[in-house]
């Protein structure tokens, strides 16, 4: 029998109990919208977190000495990179390298008249394009000049918590290469707000030359940060920069914690996906079983007319497929609308939660991200699960004995 006629019967059967069909379609729609939202939310966090970490902190690559340990922010000369001009020259000659930034990191304390707070001091070349995001996120004051030796940039959270602003004077107490502490007074030249709490509450930027002078590092740096065109070419660029006495670490190494957390988190999310899909499948199975029970005699009539079990099974599966496709279209539309809305407005999770994500570049406002591949994958998974859920009622209908079916009420 022509499939299109079976389809006509299937579609019209769905119209017989409209309320039930609409509620079932709604279940598929909501289920898929939740899945799409979850997946774009996770993608948004992962993508945002890794991208923030790369563009505000680690870069795609860092060239360091082999012994350098970033957690310690060591200023021992043997841990610092000398003659980095040569690395800089080599890196700038490689195609796909977008920015190069020599940095010196040190730990210190920022003190005002009332308070002392531990901070990470970062000596930068203000002219390097790598620091453009900081420049662009200034909310008060101005950016550092190339020769600025008396000014610093601080994050807005830090400024607010200390009650200071652009133009205020602060004291910095900094550990030095010989293990002593040194102190100097600076003017807050500008206040930046990246939206990532880790950076906005704990980082102080000053010019590289001032940082080198203050810490006694000479002309050495902690690392040469390299930003490449995209993550794909980071590895070949890294290979080109490796050399005697220095190591090159990639963004994966530097963001291992985030990547590992993502991997661990994903299994949990897959479990949630599974539960949502299973609930939808149960609803579909229930709807179709009720529908089959109500139409038992009718199925008996179709069997009496000579319709085979296989055709009856296909008819019920077409009903399920129609419900699923309508629900999936609804789910994609609803899911996309919510994702789009949250892409624009973001989901405020609050500073306290963001600050709990230690080691993560977590923003206090999270944004969703469209991942068309995930959307297609989830829609297909939904369709497959719905059809699997429909197999039982479809087989039940196909196995009905005509004589018994005809006698059903």
């Amino acid at each position: 029998m022509a499939l299109n006629k079976l389809w006509v019967i299937a579609i019209r059967d769905l119209g017989r109990n409209r309320r039930r069909s609409i509620l079932t379609i709604l279940a598929v729609t909501l289920g898929l919208a939740i899945l799409i939202l979850m997946s774009s939310y996770i993608a948004g966090i992962i993508d945002g977190s890794i991208s923030d970490s790369i563009y505000l902190n680690t870069g795609h690559l860092q060239v360091r000495t082999e012994g350098y340990e970033p957690e310690k922010a060591s200023l021992q000369w043997q841990d610092l990179l000398e003659n980095w001009d040569e690395v800089q020259a080599r890196a700038s000659a490689i195609e796909g390298v977008e920015a190069i930034a020599p940095v010196l990191w040190a730990r210190g304390f920022l003190t005002t008249a009332d308070e002392t707070i531990g901070v990470r001091i970062t000596g930068i070349d203000p002219g390097s394009g790598f620091h453009d995001p900081i420049h662009q996120s200034l909310v008060a004051g101005e950016y550092l000049g190339a020769e600025d030796r008396g000014g610093v940039l601080i994050g807005k959270h830090l400024a607010d918590s200390l009650g200071i602003n652009a133009g205020s004077k602060i004291n910095l107490l900094v550990g030095t290469s010989d293990g002593e502490m040194d102190e100097d007074t600076f003017a807050v030249r500008g206040v930046f707000s990246t939206g990532v709490l880790t950076y906005d509450e704990g980082t102080v930027y000053m010019t590289l030359s001032k940082a080198q002078a203050l810490t006694g590092a000479g002309d050495r740096i902690s690392a040469m940060i390299v930003l490449t065109k995209d993550t794909e070419i980071a590895e070949p660029v890294a290979a080109a920069l490796r050399g005697q006495g220095r190591s090159v670490v990639t963004w994966q190494d530097m963001n291992a914690l985030i990547l590992q957390a993502v991997e661990t988190g994903m299994s949990f999310y897959y479990l949630l996906y599974g539960i949502v899909i299973l609930v939808v499948a149960v609803i579909i199975t229930n709807t179709l079983l009720m529908s089959v029970f109500e139409r038992t005699r009718e199925i008996g009539i179709l069997a009496a007319l000579g319709m085979k079990g296989r055709q009856i099974r296909v008819m019920i599966l077409l009903e399920a497929g129609s419900l699923a496709i309508l629900g999936i279209i609804g789910g994609i539309i609803l899911g996309s609308l919510i994702v789009w809305y949250l892409m624009v407005t973001g989901i405020p999770i609050g500073d306290q939660i963001a600050s709990m994500a230690q080691g993560f570049a977590m923003r206090s406002v999270l944004y969703t991200k469209f991942v068309p591949g995930d959307m297609v994958g989830l829609s297909v998974a939904m369709l497959v699960i719905v059809l699997l859920g429909a197999l039982y009622p479809a087989s039940f209908a196909a196995r009905l004995e005509p004589v018994e079916a005809l006698h059903a009420l």
Partner: protein
Amino acid sequence: MYAIELENVVRTYQIGDVMTHALDGVSLRFAEGEFTAVVGPSGSGKTTMLQLMGCLDRPNSGVVKVGGQDVTNLNANKRADLRREKIGFIFQFFALVPVLTAYENVELPLLLNGVNSRERKERVDELLNAVGLADRSAHRPDQMSGGEQQRVAIARALAPRPLLVLADEPTANLDTDNGTQAMEIMQRLNSETGTAFIFATHDPRVMVHARRVIELQDGRVVSNGESAQ
């Protein structure tokens, strides 16, 4: 050749611990083109006999032949093929597919038989015309009266040009006028097409039209005669 032959057919049902003999050694032959009523009180085995003849059910013992072919032990698919090609059904409760129009209901067995669209249209129009429902072809069952629905069912039963039509209490839910009209249509189509009609019925109106009346009681044939008509 006979349209249907039953040889010593036994059909029993077990209900709880009680074994009921619905048909107890029935042997009957129905010629092609017959117009026969099977009568008897409720529980006499009329419906069971029709179901066995229609390949909807299988006997516990005995042989059922349709058009000379032994169908007793055919599997479900083969029986479905046989029903589709050779047997039309008319039920007491009209039994149309509610989501299909009159036209589509009559067309359904033709679709199942793989008849092409041009032939289907000719056949459906011809049959709806024959049962006087050409102007109701686009109506669905719930938009038609009981009499009209049963006439659509008659048209549907005849659509695949079957060897025989089995009708279980076809007039039981119809008023006198509609019942008589349905019987007259079936009688006319029987003579025009040569399709055998076999009815299970209580209804004297049906018996009046029948050329042969078979009487069952307690699953046995008590009379195998012909009507006075």
